[in-house]
Every structure is written in structure tokens, then in C-alpha cells.
């Protein structure tokens, strides 16, 4: 049996009083009932102060019962599962839930920072922009953020799991109330694939608890029958606990689902993010009740009237013991009558309108509830919570209050009209307009992809929704024109518009005085509507107040952008399962397991997980790299170059087609010969390099950098399909089909010959840049005489499923010559000595061929190629461009890649930077490559190398390469 809280009624509501649910709030153990939300449980226990306001630390209690809650913002769970800024109204009560107020010192009940409220006039809108100027804002930021009390971020890695799912449907119905279910059933009956999403844990919306009859049935029975009918249809998916958080282009709607709320330590994911692609979105999102604005309208005990009715009927909780109701429309009358029927002392209902529906007046009369027409709250009294309300009688023109009366009460239930929830409609491109008669932002046009039903259509239009019998019963929004909702008198500095961010009417006045006229600018200056509730109860009121201050119609003000997400979505849900090993696709070569067994150290190079080095027992990685580098220079090494991009281009126009992409002249390329060249983009910028090989006139093979294989293939395909469709070519990427094994070093030929290839591999028969198709171990292979290390190299390309057999055979054959496998880092060091270009490291988004010594080749090519025209732009003709040069260390200090370079005779901020660095394998001296201003004209000059603003090293500019300038080793 639940220990009943002082505000829990003995009966009523949909909670299970037999099943108590313990939870802690601010460290104190309390009890709610199964079916409660955190907010309803706190209200039942009499907890009036749930949180403190953002700026003035004023006490705040529960204000609403749903997504619009601006006050009851709490922190949940703590530790690694900490959830700051949670709305207590949306948190289902679970056993041993731990929540705290996330603000207040020493606690939320007695908060010393309330003193800030005494200097509220000083802390007006934009005060931080005007006061924290010296030395700068960041000096104050930690202190201010601490004061604001935004909660704590998780203290450790998130232990929960998240998922991302895709779904497709014909009709997505957002909102599982009566209107939504009606629309969904209509669409499903017509054969459409339908998805219904409901933010709350059960379908039916307010019909579950408001007691109205629908088609002659009680709401919950009607809903149960509708749900049963739809569950019988295979093509209907009903999703509860799921919020539609954003509408994106081409009918994409994002959903955030909370699958299981029963326990913080759960098996199922904490949140599931859905990407739904739909042909039609039906918005049955309903409307949100708006507040009234009067002095001190923020005290705990002041609550939206509709919320109080829901707490009564769904949770069996009374909002107070002496209740006053204030409204400007018909909807709050039902609250007053329901509370009265539940035995709660309803002092009366004041209405800012002078006339009221006769039927409502008759119902009040029957219930003996006093009625104050033309009356509006002017002020409230209380310190920790509400003790009394001061009501004022409006003059006939509604611009003044002439007679005030103070009424003792502990709850003031307010209703300022209803605003349709049209976030998704707006995000889909629909325009909203402010209607003076409803005081709401409503849809002004029809969209082909979005349909509105129920009260989302607007205050006066709900009765015209999809199916008459069902929806006519959902007519809480129908009624006469609303009355005023901003009290014309009272201290504007105490009239809250945005409860969460402590934005008052005075702040809006200040913004308008300072000439902010656009509502978007007012929003940013005052921060109205920028809190966690995103202005769901403040945006419309702010429009009305600003319009009044500017003496223009509210419809001329416009509105602020309704951006996604509609409710906060965890970053974990957006990332889904794509974290850790699944963060991004990773690739392994066919020899990966062999490398692992040999103790290779793996690094990620783009997508590829590659062997960086093979340290032996007790050897450091740096020593291993150095050893491998030396061995290749003096003996022979074996390298797994399988990630090298490989693209076959077939067809009679293959060579002519490729000639359009490379700066070298390919028309003279002979079969079984390879040519190295650069590929440019339209701007003339170098974006890839590789070899082009001709196997026959109809068959060319290009190699690309490892990270660019897919990009280059797509680049070739795009130009073929879009610009040059008449070329008779077919492009087929084959990177994974062919493993590449580089046998490198002065003994490479001897080692290869031991595998008895069926071709002559002597230098005369198979020279540098030659290509041969032959058999090794009976396997058909392609062997290239190309080198990225500067040594004699045979690049053996073999089908991936034969790679390990050939690799191991080469290891055995090279054993007597001391053959070692070498990793990517050793290769990069070897190529550095030769000054070979490494695209991406030695180039950036502005490097053109001349910058890397290829200017003459590009200029001499007569035929056109992509990027050629751009090379003649004045900027690309300048002599002071950054040029790639060698940098030889003048001392033994290593250079650092990325360090800035300054030429001593120039006074520029920077004259370039170090692009690659390492040590010479033979001399062990530090060497580097760098892009240096007019580098080639400054050969021999000494440069200063900077790090973090200080000169940390010097080097001398040299020509390239550092090693074997004649290329005798490579060509030998």
C-alpha cells in the first residue's frame, strides 16, 4: 500500500495505489505509486519547490504536466548515467529513481543565491554582454555557469546502449490521441503502411483520463478497441514512448524512442533513434496551454489549469487545497468543476473576458463555484510558495485594473489559451500566422506532405477534423474569442514571460527600447524561448508583448524558428551503435592475420588497419622503424601494400579518357609500361597521384593513394557519366581483388628469382616502370617495377586469396638475404629520403603541380586535362607560392611536422611549414620536407622552425632528393 502523500486523493486516477514506488528526491526517500510521473509523485508528497530559476534562483514548482514544462527541471540518476535538465513531467516514476533539483545552495528549499533576486534590475536582459567586458567573458564564465545550475554531465563513459533504426511508411501519424488514432485507422483501412508514434507510454492522449465519451464510449474503451483493430493489421506499427523530434527534407522524420523506462540499469537500449521515410505526415500533436502573465506569476503553486486537471484525473493528485482558477478562455472551467467534484475547495474562477458561455455558467452555478468576470490576477503573495492571489477587475477597455481583491489560496490555476504544436509542420516548410482571436500561432497553408488533424489544426478548427463523430468529442479548443492574458498593470520586472530563463516583460521592454525589432533578435538578446523547454509556453506570449510594445499587430511580428529537436535527444541516440569499433568502417588486408602473428603494431591509415612496424622482442617502435628502414636500404624487405588503390579502365578509349585526368602526356604510353603522374581537380589542385599502366590498348590500370581509391573511382565515373559519356570505357575498381606485395632492396631480384617466375626479370628485360603479367607459384600475377622507397622494387599484384601463399614463399626465399617485413612507417621514412610526394601530407587544398616540381610537365602537355586552365590563373603563376623543398637539420634535433617556418630575410607571419619529417636511414640525421615560400629560390637558406610561437629548431633548405639523386638504386 502506498503511503499516501498529503495531496494524493483517496480515489481516482489511473495509478495503482497498491504498488508503492520508492524514489529519492534531493537525497530524501519518498514514495509514489505505480503509474506516476516524477512530477505527479512530487506533487502528491507536497513537494512545492522542485527547482530554482536560472538567473534569480527563485523557487519553482511543477507548472505543467507535459513536454512544455519550464520549471520542474531536475537531474536524474547521477554518476555515469547522469541526465541533467530532465523534465520531471516526462519522467515515469521507477523504483529507486534518484533525482535532484540540480540547483540551489545549500539546497533548493533554502537557496542563498536567492539574494540575486534582490538585484534583479541590475541583471536585466543582456547584462552579461554589458558588464563582463574586462578582462573578458571567459574570466567570469565558470562562476556564472556554476551559479546557473545546469546540472552535471555524466562522470564516466556512458554505460548504456543506443540504437539507430530505419523505417518506411506511407503515413506517419504523430500523436496517438483520438484524432491521431482516427486518422491512422482511416489510412490503414485504405491499405496504407502506417506508423503511429505517441510520446507518452500509452496511446489515447487525454481521452484516457478526461472522462469524455467518444462515439458513445468511455475514452479508454474507445482507444482500446481502436488499438485492437489496428494491431490486427500487419501494416500498422504503433510506437509509444516515442517522440517525433524533427522533420527533414524529402519526408524524413526523426523519432526518439525510449524503449524501457522501468529501470536505470536495463537490457534494452536507453534510447533508440529512428529515421522514418514517409510519404505523408499526419500531425495529431494537439496543443499546449499558454500561461497568463501577471506580477509574480512564477511562484510554486501556480500551474496550468489543464495540467491540474490531468494530475487530478490521471494521477489522483490535487494541485492544492484552496484553489483559485484564472482564465481567458472556456477550457479552464472544466478544471474548476472537476476539482470541486473531487472535494477540493475551489474558491472561484476569474475570467478576463466579460461574457461567458451560458452552459459553463450554469455548470459553475450548479457546483456553487463563484465566478469573477472581467477579472485577472494582478499579483501573488508568498515567499517559498503561493499563499494568496491579488485579483483585479478590468476596466471596460481592458487597459487598466480598477478594483483589487486578495484571495488566500495555495494553488492558482491559469489558462491563457491553447497553442497548436506545429513544430514539424513548420520544419516541413509550412508558414505560421498569429491569430488575434485565438492568441495562437496556427497553420496558414496546406502542405502536400503534411496534414493536420485535431487541435493541431487550431483553436477553432478542431471540429472539422477527419472523422466527425470521434473528433467532435475532442473539442476542448472550440469556443469564443479568448480574453487578454497579460495583466495591464503591475511591475513588469516581476511579470515572467519565460519562467525557465527568468525573462520578464521588463526584459522585453528593454529589448524594444534598445531597438531590437525582429522577434528573432529579441529572442537572442533576452534569451526568451532559448531554455530547455524551447519557448513552448513563452514564445507566443513574447510575440504578444513585443507587438503591444511596438504598437503593431502580433500577426505582423512573425515568429521564431521552430528548430528540431522537439524534445532533447541524447547524443548517444544520434550516434546509435556507431561507436567504438563501429565508429567508422575499417578494413584489413588479406595478410592481416600474418602481421598479427608476427607481432606487428597496427595503426589506422584512413580506413585501413595496417601494420605500422614489426618490433622484435624488447624493441621500441622507433627502433623497429629505423631497423626496417636500414634493412631495406642495405638488404631486402617485404611490404604489404594491398590498400594501394587499383582501378581498371577498359575500352578502346581507355588511354585517351585517362589522359584527360593526369598532368602527364599518356598518349605515348606503351603496353606493359607504367607512368607516374598527378591528378588535379578543376581548380588545378593536386588531389591524387599514382601510376597508369597499359596492358593492352583496351585495358589500362591506374593506381591511386590508399585513401583515395573510392574517391578517384567515383571521380572517373562522374566525369564519364556527366561530361564525357561518348568515351567508350568501363571503369571497374579492383583494389580488394589484387593484393600488392612490394619486394624491395638490392637483393630483391635474387629473392624473386628463387620463386622461378616465368619471365625474365633482369633489368634489361624488365626495366624500371615496366609491367609484366606472369605466373608465380603457378598463380597469375602482375608485377610492376615501380618504387616508392627509392630501391629496386618488384610490386607483385596477386589475387587476394593467393596473397598469403606468395608472401610466405617470399619470406622463405629471402631468409638467406636477411629479408624482413617492413611496415608503413618505414616506407614513409624511405620515401622521405627520396623526396617522394605523399598526397595529403605534403600537399594541401591549394597545392598545384608547380609547387611540387611538376610545373614543367603540366605546362608542356599540349592536350587538355582537368585543372589545366586553372594553372594559368594569376594566383597560380606567382613566384612566391609555397613550394615543396627538402629541409636538412642543422643540429641533431628532430623536426616536427606541422611546425611553422620563417625565412630570416622575410617578415611574413609564416613562410610555410614542415609537411613530413624523419631521419635519414643511413646518416641518421634529421630530415624533412616542407612547403616553403618561394622554396626553390631559397635553396641553401637557413630557416627558423617555430612551435607554439617560439623558435625551436633551424634547418637548411635543400633540393630533393636527400639520397641517390641519380636514381641508380631504383633503376638498377
Amino acid at each position: 500500500m502506498t503511503r499516501p502523500g498529503p495531496y494524493r486523493l483517496a480515489s481516482g486516477g489511473r495509478i495503482n495505489r497498491q504498488k508503492p514506488v520508492p524514489f529519492t528526491f534531493n537525497g530524501k526517500t519518498l514514495y509514489g505509486s505505480d503509474g506516476d510521473t516524477l512530477a505527479s509523485a512530487l506533487l502528491a508528497t507536497g513537494c512545492r519547490i522542485v527547482s530554482r530559476s536560472f538567473k534569480f534562483h527563485r523557487p519553482r514548482g511543477v507548472f505543467s504536466a507535459g513536454v512544455e514544462e519550464p520549471n520542474a527541471i531536475v537531474e536524474l540518476h547521477g554518476g555515469a548515467r547522469s541526465v541533467p535538465q530532465a523534465r520531471a513531467t516526462l519522467v515515469p516514476l521507477m523504483s529507486h529513481l534518484a533525482a535532484n533539483s540540480q540547483t540551489g545552495w545549500p539546497n533548493s528549499r533554502v537557496d542563498a543565491l536567492r539574494l540575486l533576486d534582490c538585484i534583479a534590475p541590475v541583471l536585466a536582459a543582456g547584462f552579461y554582454n554589458k558588464t563582463f567586458l574586462w578582462p573578458n567573458w571567459h574570466a567570469y564564465e565558470p562562476f556564472v555557469r556554476q551559479l546557473a545550475g545546469g546540472g552535471n554531465t555524466p562522470t564516466g563513459p556512458d554505460p548504456d546502449r543506443y540504437e539507430l533504426r530505419n523505417a518506411h511508411c506511407d503515413v506517419l501519424v504523430v500523436g496517438g490521441g483520438v484524432s491521431g488514432l482516427t486518422a491512422a485507422e482511416d489510412a490503414a483501412s485504405a491499405g496504407a503502411r502506417v506508423v503511429v508514434v505517441e510520446q507518452e507510454s500509452a496511446l489515447g492522449g487525454r481521452s484516457r483520463w478526461d472522462g469524455r465519451l467518444i462515439d458513445g464510449f468511455p475514452g479508454d474503451r474507445w482507444v482500446a478497441a481502436a488499438v485492437a483493430r489496428m494491431k490486427a493489421l500487419k501494416h500498422v506499427r504503433l510506437m509509444t514512448g516515442t517522440a517525433a523530434v524533427g522533420y527533414y527534407n524529402t519526408g524524413v522524420v526523426a523519432l526518439a524512442e525510449t524503449p524501457d523506462c522501468s529501470s536505470p540499469a536495463r537490457e534494452s537500449p536507453r534510447e533508440r533513434f529512428w529515421v522514418v521515410r514517409t510519404k505523408l505526415v499526419v500531425l495529431a500533436t494537439g496543443a499546449i496551454e499558454q500561461p497568463l502573465v501577471f506580477a509574480n506569476n512564477d511562484r510554486p503553486g501556480i500551474m496550468l489549469a489543464g495540467a491540474a486537471r490531468r494530475y487530478l484525473r490521471e494521477f489522483g493528485v490535487a494541485a492544492g487545497r484552496r484553489v483559485m482558477v484564472a482564465t481567458n478562455n472556456d477550457s479552464a472551467y472544466a478544471t474548476a468543476i472537476d476539482l470541486n467534484n473531487a472535494g477540493i475547495n475551489v474558491i472561484g474562477i476569474c475570467d478576463s473576458r466579460s461574457t461567458t458561455n451560458d452552459a459553463l455558467l450554469a455548470a459553475l452555478h450548479t457546483a456553487a463555484i463563484p465566478h469573477w468576470p472581467s477579472t485577472i490576477p494582478v499579483d501573488t503573495i508568498g515567499f517559498g510558495a503561493l499563499k494568496a492571489a491579488k485579483l483585479g477587475r478590468l476596466t471596460g477597455d481592458k487597459v487598466r485594473v480598477e478594483h483589487c481583491e486578495t484571495v488566500a489560496c495555495d494553488a492558482l490555476l491559469v489558462s491563457g489559451g491553447w497553442n497548436p504544436l506545429l513544430h514539424l509542420y513548420s520544419q516541413a516548410g509550412g508558414t505560421l500566422g498569429y491569430r488575434d482571436d485565438t492568441g495562437a500561432l496556427e497553420a496558414t497553408e496546406t502542405l502536400p506532405s503534411v496534414e493536420l488533424v485535431g487541435s493541431a489544426r487550431g483553436y477553432l478548427a478542431a471540429g472539422a477534423a477527419t472523422r466527425s463523430t470521434a473528433v467532435q468529442s475532442d473539442t476542448r479548443l472550440t469556443g469564443a474569442r479568448i480574453g487578454i492574458r497579460v495583466c495591464p498593470t503591475g511591475n513588469p520586472g516581476r511579470q515572467w514571460v519565460d519562467l525557465r530563463h527568468d525573462v520578464t516583460v521588463a526584459d522585453l521592454q528593454l529589448a524594444v527600447r534598445e531597438n531590437f525589432s525582429s522577434i528573432e533578435h529579441v529572442k537572442r538578446y533576452t534569451t526568451v524561448g532559448m531554455a530547455v523547454d524551447q519557448g513552448k509556453t513563452s514564445a507566443t506570449v513574447a510575440i504578444e508583448v513585443v507587438a503591444h510594445l511596438r504598437h503593431i499587430s502580433a500577426s505582423a511580428i512573425g515568429h521564431t524558428t521552430l528548430r528540431p529537436p522537439f524534445v532533447p535527444v541524447t547524443m548517444g541516440a544520434i550516434a546509435g551503435a556507431e561507436i567504438g569499433k563501429r565508429f567508422a568502417p575499417s578494413r584489413c588486408t588479406p595478410l592481416h592475420e600474418w602481421h598479427e602473428q608476427r607481432g606487428a603494431i597496427f595503426h589506422d591509415y584512413g580506413e585501413w588497419h595496417r601494420a605500422a612496424a614489426y618490433p622484435t622482442s624488447g624493441e621500441s617502435i622507433a627502433d623497429a622503424i629505423s631497423r626496417e628502414q636500414r634493412t631495406v636500404r642495405t638488404g631486402v624487405g617485404l611490404f604489404d601494400g594491398s590498400p594501394l588503390g587499383k582501378i581498371e579502365v577498359h575500352g578502346p578509349d581507355a588511354l585517351e579518357f585517362l589522359d584527360h585526368f593526369y598532368v602527364s602526356n599518356l598518349s605515348t604510353l606503351k603496353p606493359y609500361r607504367a607512368r607516374y603522374s598527378l591528378m588535379l581537380n578543376e581548380s588545378g589542385v593536386v588531389f591524387d597521384d599514382g601510376t597508369i599502366t597499359l596492358l593492352d590498348q583496351n585495358h589500362a590500370i591506374v593506381t591511386t593513394t590508399s585513401g583515395n581509391a573510392e574517391i578517384v573511382a567515383a571521380w572517373l565515373e562522374e566525369w564519364h557519366q556527366c561530361e564525357w559519356p561518348n568515351f567508350q570505357v568501363a571503369i571497374i575498381p579492383v583494389t580488394d581483388q589484387w593484393s600488392t606485395i612490394a619486394l624491395t632492396g638490392i637483393h630483391a631480384r635474387a629473392v624473386l628469382s628463387r620463386l622461378r617466375p616465368d619471365i625474365d626479370i633482369s633489368n634489361s628485360a624488365f626495366p624500371h616502370l615496366g609491367v609484366r603479367v606472369c605466373h608465380l607459384l603457378g598463380r597469375r600475377t602482375r608485377i610492376y617495377r615501380v618504387s616508392f622507397s627509392g630501391e629496386l622494387t618488384y610490386e607483385i599484384n596477386t589475387p587476394a586469396d593467393t596473397a598469403q601463399e606468395i608472401w610466405e614463399a617470399l619470406i622463405s626465399a629471402g631468409e638467406s638475404d636477411g629479408l624482413v617485413p617492413y611496415g608503413v612507417e618505414a616506407l614513409l621514412a624511405l620515401r622521405l629520403e627520396k623526396g617522394f610526394l605523399h598526397i595529403g601530407s605534403d600537399t594541401d587544398g591549394s597545392t598545384i603541380p608547380d609547387d611540387v616540381g611538376w610545373g614543367t610537365v603540366a605546362t608542356n602537355k599540349r592536350s587538355d586535362f582537368i585543372g589545366k586552365r586553372s594553372l594559368y590563373l594569376p594566383a597560380n603563376q606567382r613566384t612566391d607560392r609555397l613550394q615543396l623543398v627538402g629541409l636538412a637539420g642543422v643540429n641533431d634535433h628532430d623536426m616536427v611536422a606541422g611546425s611553422h617556418i620563417r625565412l630570416r630575410h622575410l617578415r611574413e607571419i609564416t613562410d610555410g611549414w614542415v609537411t613530413s619529417r624523419g631521419r635519414s636511414g643511413l646518416s641518421n640525421r634529421p630530415i624533412a620536407l616542407g612547403l616553403v615560400r618561394a622554396g626553390r629560390a631559397n635553396l641553401g637558406a637557413t630557416i627558423d622552425i617555430y612551435d607554439a610561437g617560439r623558435v625551436v629548431n633551424q634547418a637548411r633548405i635543400t633540393s630533393l632528393p636527400f639520397f641517390d639523386r641519380a636514381g641508380e638504386r631504383m633503376n638498377g
Partner: protein, 190 residues
């Protein structure tokens, strides 16, 4: 875990839900042409009794499966022995007829996903509409699955073959395993 499994292998075996199997290396050939489709049909008729699929996104065949994955662009998947014989016959007869043939057998991984929840498992990782009314038997598609470029062939209502670059195999299987675990399906190495 996937690393410990030798081919052929299952990473799940729950007949009531989803069955995922890495198939032994199949023979996979990419065939592309730059000629008109009419010539193609005539040329290829001599190789297979049935006409090759000319509509992008369709597939025909049983033991030898031909997927039309783009305009004048096919993937031919079959048993290795049969494929070598057939492709060697095909190559000389059509190479002069404006066609390119590339063997991708060693570079292509093939995974079969079947069972009554196969579509649901795939749709977790893929943004395409895989509902039976949209992705029918005999259709194929090139798409992104688990962030990878994958070709999916719908063999039957409950069976799909996925083809992707072999170097992604570990990552692909890791992704599938995680999805299966998310559905609560048992996974089993064999």
C-alpha cells in the same frame, strides 16, 4: 567472435528469426559494357539461355546469378568451377564486342542473411525501404549497409545475399552481430 570462425561459417543460427552465414568464396565477376543494350542481349544470349537482366535493380538466375547493378553493368555470381569455365568462354566472345570483364572473386565477400526477421535486421543498417512490397524477390540494389557500399540481392521473401569488399568483412560481421544482439537473437559460431 567473428575472428575465430573459419569459412564456411554461421554467426547466428536461429531458424525462427535470422540466419547469417558467410559463404565460401564465390566466383564474382563484374561485367560492364559501353555498347547499346540491344547488342548486349543478342551477344549474351549465346552464353546463357536466358536473356540477361537489362533493368537496373533486377537479378535472374539460380546457381548462376546475374545482377543488373547499373546501366550496362552486371555482377555475375556463381560457383567457382562453373564460373571459370563460363567466363573463359564468355571473355573471348564478347571482349571484342564492347565489354569489360573483371574477376572480383578474391576481393568480394558474400554473406547470406535469411529468416523471417532478415529484412528487419538489414533495415537496421540500411536506409532503403526493404519492405516486401518495395524490395521484391528478384530485385537487387547497391546501397549503404552499415556505412559500407554493399550490393543486396533479394533471393526470396526471406533470403538475401550481400556482396561487399572483402577487406570490410570483419567490420560487416561485427555490425551484423551487434544488430542480432540488439534483437536478442542468439549468435553461434560454427
Amino acid at each position: 567472435m567473428v575472428e575465430a570462425i573459419a569459412k564456411p561459417r554461421d554467426i547466428s543460427n536461429d531458424a525462427k528469426s535470422t540466419h547469417v552465414a558467410v559463404l565460401p568464396t564465390r566466383s564474382v565477376w563484374r561485367v560492364r559494357s559501353w555498347c547499346t543494350s540491344k547488342n548486349w542481349s543478342a551477344t549474351l544470349a549465346s552464353w546463357q539461355s536466358a536473356t540477361w537482366p537489362m533493368e537496373v535493380g533486377t537479378a535472374i538466375g539460380d546457381a548462376t546469378r546475374v545482377l543488373c547493378i547499373g546501366r550496362l553493368d552486371w555482377l555475375v555470381v556463381c560457383d567457382s568451377r562453373v564460373a571459370e569455365e563460363q567466363m573463359s568462354c564468355l571473355a573471348p566472345s564478347v571482349e571484342g564486342c564492347l565489354v569489360a570483364i573483371a574477376d572480383l572473386s578474391a576481393g568480394t565477400a558474400s554473406v547470406k542473411i535469411s529468416g523471417c526477421n532478415a529484412r528487419e535486421v538489414l533495415s537496421v543498417l540500411c536506409g532503403l525501404d526493404l519492405h516486401p512490397s518495395s524490395f521484391r524477390v528478384g530485385q537487387c540494389t547497391r546501397t549503404r549497409l552499415a556505412q559500407l557500399p554493399v550490393t543486396i540481392d533479394c533471393l526470396s521473401e526471406l533470403s538475401f545475399d550481400c556482396y561487399f569488399s572483402q577487406s570490410f568483412e570483419k567490420y560487416f560481421l561485427l555490425s551484423i552481430e551487434e544488430v542480432l544482439a540488439g534483437f536478442g537473437y542468439p549468435t553461434r559460431s560454427k
